[in-house]
């Protein structure tokens, strides 16, 4: 049998595989599938609803409104010269992107078990499509932010776009990668240990409160110095704080904070890819 070694096989199916078997060429071959998955996710969500895609706008709008009432009017959180509603809308939109990516990618294996048990394609296509379709939803949501921004600007609110806004797409990319990495890790673990699904649901909710979504990072340091580390060690908080800085010139941008978040993201993504890669080979036996 060994004499056949000189044959040039197209590929080999075997038990042992490299730590990371990330075949970019293969993913490129399946790019049409990626596009179709994205299209499916976008088109089908609000089929047979009256308001349709308007739901994309209603969610962040009302969340921001509620936050403004509770945190700014009742709890008196100061947002400086920036109108509280706009402050919250920025935070909520960015946070929502992270949240919806994470929730959807973290159920990759379980929600696709039907397809995965019948046909092969690079599994990473599924979480990738989730991240991309959410990006499109995020772009729609960002458009209402822009609308309100213009409105407040016309009415003379003290807001300005910082020139660092050119890095906004990069920032969003890193949030996408972070949620992708985390989602891949969680989705892989959930196939064996279902408990994680429940943990995730309220974990994300708690995470929001320590991610500087409805308050500036500095305020936390000032009012609750003992617990500020919770926020300071949270990479998402820096992303959200930086997004607000870019869009509203509110708060501060910390290079170390951003640096920490970027390194954290890359590490999580690497771990995510390794774990995902291991799971995709055999999860169908355990799911």
């Amino acid at each position: 049998m060994k004499s056949h070694q000189d044959d040039n096989w197209l590929y080999t199916i075997s038990a042992k595989r490299k730590l990371v078997d990330f075949n970019l060429k293969e993913i490129w071959q399946y790019r049409d599938l990626l596009v179709l998955f994205v299209k499916r996710d976008i088109v089908t969500v609000y089929k047979q609803t009256v308001l349709g895609p308007l739901w994309y706008l209603i969610q962040p709008l009302f969340t921001a409104l509620t936050f403004t009432l509770i945190f700014n009017k009742v709890a008196n959180i100061e947002t400086g010269t920036v109108p509280p509603f706009l402050f919250n809308l920025a935070g909520v939109s960015v946070w929502n992107y992270f949240k919806s990516c994470l929730t959807a990618t973290s159920s990759t294996f379980n929600s696709n078990a039907g397809i995965y048990s019948k046909v092969y394609f690079p599994r990473v296509i599924s979480p990738l499509s989730v991240v991309i379709s959410n990006l499109i939803k995020f772009a729609i949501q960002l458009s209402i932010f822009v609308g309100f921004y213009v409105y407040y600007y016309m009415n003379g609110a003290g807001i300005a776009i910082d020139k660092s806004v050119v890095f906004f797409p990069v920032l969003i990319l890193f949030m996408a990668l972070l949620s992708l990495g985390l989602g891949m890790i969680i989705s892989s673990m959930v196939t064996k240990y279902r408990d994680l699904k429940y943990l995730l649901n309220f974990g994300i909710q708690l995470l929001m409160y320590i991610s500087a979504v409805m308050y500036p990072l500095d305020l936390m340091r000032e009012k609750l110095p003992r617990f500020a580390w919770l926020v300071e060690y949270n990479p998402i908080a820096y992303f959200i704080e930086a997004a607000r800085y870019m869009l509203l010139s509110s708060g501060s941008i910390s290079i170390t904070g951003i640096g920490f978040s970027v390194v954290f993201t890359i590490a999580i993504l690497a771990v995510g890819l390794i774990i995902f890669n291991r799971t995709e080979k055999s999860f169908i036996d355990t799911v």
Binding site: W9, L10, I13, R17, D32, V119, Y120, D285, T286
Partner: protein, 419 residues
């Protein structure tokens, strides 16, 4: 010379499964596995494991679904893979289609493999027929350009022209299957792996599907791996076949020989009492007992044949009836018989069915059991529960050849009238 022809090579493929409930204990085993790995030792669980035989009670928690499978497939060959339920066919298919990885061994291929373990994978009921063709095609590995090129053919093959821009949720189940098969039929991989997807759709469509299958394998010179219970289909389509038994290759060779081997060697399929233990909604079909005064492992066709289906009902059920399907070895249902539809109280019951003597022939029959709720919903659908074979010890008359037919009814009236 042969070397250049080999397009797929399967070397020492094995797959181990863990029996029982995955849950408690797995973390422990996982840690142990990890600990062996860290120290560079071999996975301790690879050494254990039973031969895949579902009728035997297992000693170990691990079982080898298939063990050390070796075979080669040449370009343009249509290879049939046959074997009874649980012989490892599906596992082999799953490994070939890369749905799951083998525990040991390697499969080398020179072409792209596309697998059809199911038709309509990934269909989304909110999308229209046309959109689903694209989605399903892409999932099966086609590019958008390829699909666009063939879409008119696909639509006309499916016969769903009128509804092609309607969401699939408004389709009848038959139409969905047609559409799904149409996509699959136009798949053009180097190697096509097919599970028994032919058993779908109405008779007209099945003819069309088999015709298309023959075109694919004969006309276009495609390499196909075909897994089936249907011996007629295997004989009609395959050039060579392998027989799987308990996770090993029991026979490899020409299709007719393989089918003969499979049929003649299936005596060990015959058993008079089968443990089933399939449960749904508190209703368990525990076992099937077949009694008759036949020789060991077969039944005497001149005696009544009695089926005792033992059930255990933990939760009171609505109207229930139990069906027994008798199928020929070619997977054609000869007849179905059902119990009276009645409310099922909790407790253990035996549903007894007697097939009177002088009904069946001396051939093999596969038995399915189906539990139907409210006369409409299949609560449990148990395929190929067991296989039985009729024999006749004392036939009247001189002729001892094989009596033709799937049944041999004895109570028909013949008369000779002199005119």
């Amino acid at each position: 010379m042969e070397k250049t022809n080999v397009i797929l090579k399967v070397e020492d493929i094995s797959k181990q499964y863990r029996l029982g409930v995955v849950g408690t204990g797995t973390i422990g085993d996982d840690l142990k596995r990890w600990w062996y790995k860290v120290r560079g030792k071999e996975d301790p669980f690879l050494k254990v494991g039973d031969v895949n035989d579902r009728s035997q009670k297992s000693e170990s928690d691990y079982v080898w679904a298939i063990k050390d499978i070796n075979f080669q497939v040449r370009q343009g060959e249509v290879l049939g893979i046959i074997g009874k339920n649980g012989a490892g066919k599906s596992t082999l298919l799953k490994i070939l289609s890369r749905v799951t990885a083998p525990t040991t061994g390697e499969i080398k291929t020179k072409g792209r493999i596309a697998s059809l373990l199911e038709v309509g994978t990934g269909f989304h009921h909110e999308l229209t027929g046309r959109e689903n063709i694209y989605l399903n095609g892409a999932i099966l590995g086609m590019t958008k350009a390829e699909i666009t090129e063939k879409i008119d053919e696909i639509i006309s093959f499916s016969g769903c022209e009128r509804y092609i821009d309607t969401p699939v949720k408004r389709y009848s189940s038959g139409m969905t299957v047609r559409l799904a098969f149409a996509v699959a039929a136009f798949l053009e991989p180097d190697i096509l792996v097919i599970d028994e997807v032919l058993a779908v759709g109405d008779a007209e469509f099945q003819r069309k599907a088999v015709g298309k299958m023959q075109d694919i394998s004969k006309g276009e010179g495609r390499t196909v791996l075909f897994v089936s219970h249907n011996m007629t289909a295997v004989k009609g389509l395959c050039t060579r076949a392998i027989v799987l038994e308990h996770g090993n290759i029991a026979f490899e060779g020409a299709t007719n020989d393989a089918v003969d081997f499979y049929l003649s060697n299936s005596n060990d399929l015959l058993s008079s009492e089968v443990t089933i233990n399939e449960e749904k909604d508190g209703f368990t079909v525990e076992s099937l007992k077949i009694s008759n005064n036949g020789v060991d492992g077969s039944f005497n066709i001149y005696e009544d044949l009695m089926f005792d289906i033992l059930i255990d009902c933990k939760k009171e059920q609505n109207l229930i009836n139990i069906n027994i399907f008798l199928n020929s070895i070619d997977a054609i249902t000869i007849f179905a018989t059902c119990s009276e539809q009645e409310k099922q109280e909790t407790g253990k019951y035996i549903y007894q069915c007697i097939i009177p003597k002088g009904t069946l022939n001396n051939i093999m029959y596969n038995i399915d059991i189906m539990v139907v709720e409210n006369g409409e919903k299949a609560l449990l659908n148990l395929k190929n529960v067991t296989t039985i074979e009729g024999n006749e010890e004392d036939r009247d008359g001189a002729w001892l050849g094989k009596y033709p037919g799937l049944l041999r009814p004895q109570n028909f009236q013949w008369k000779k009238i002199k005119l």
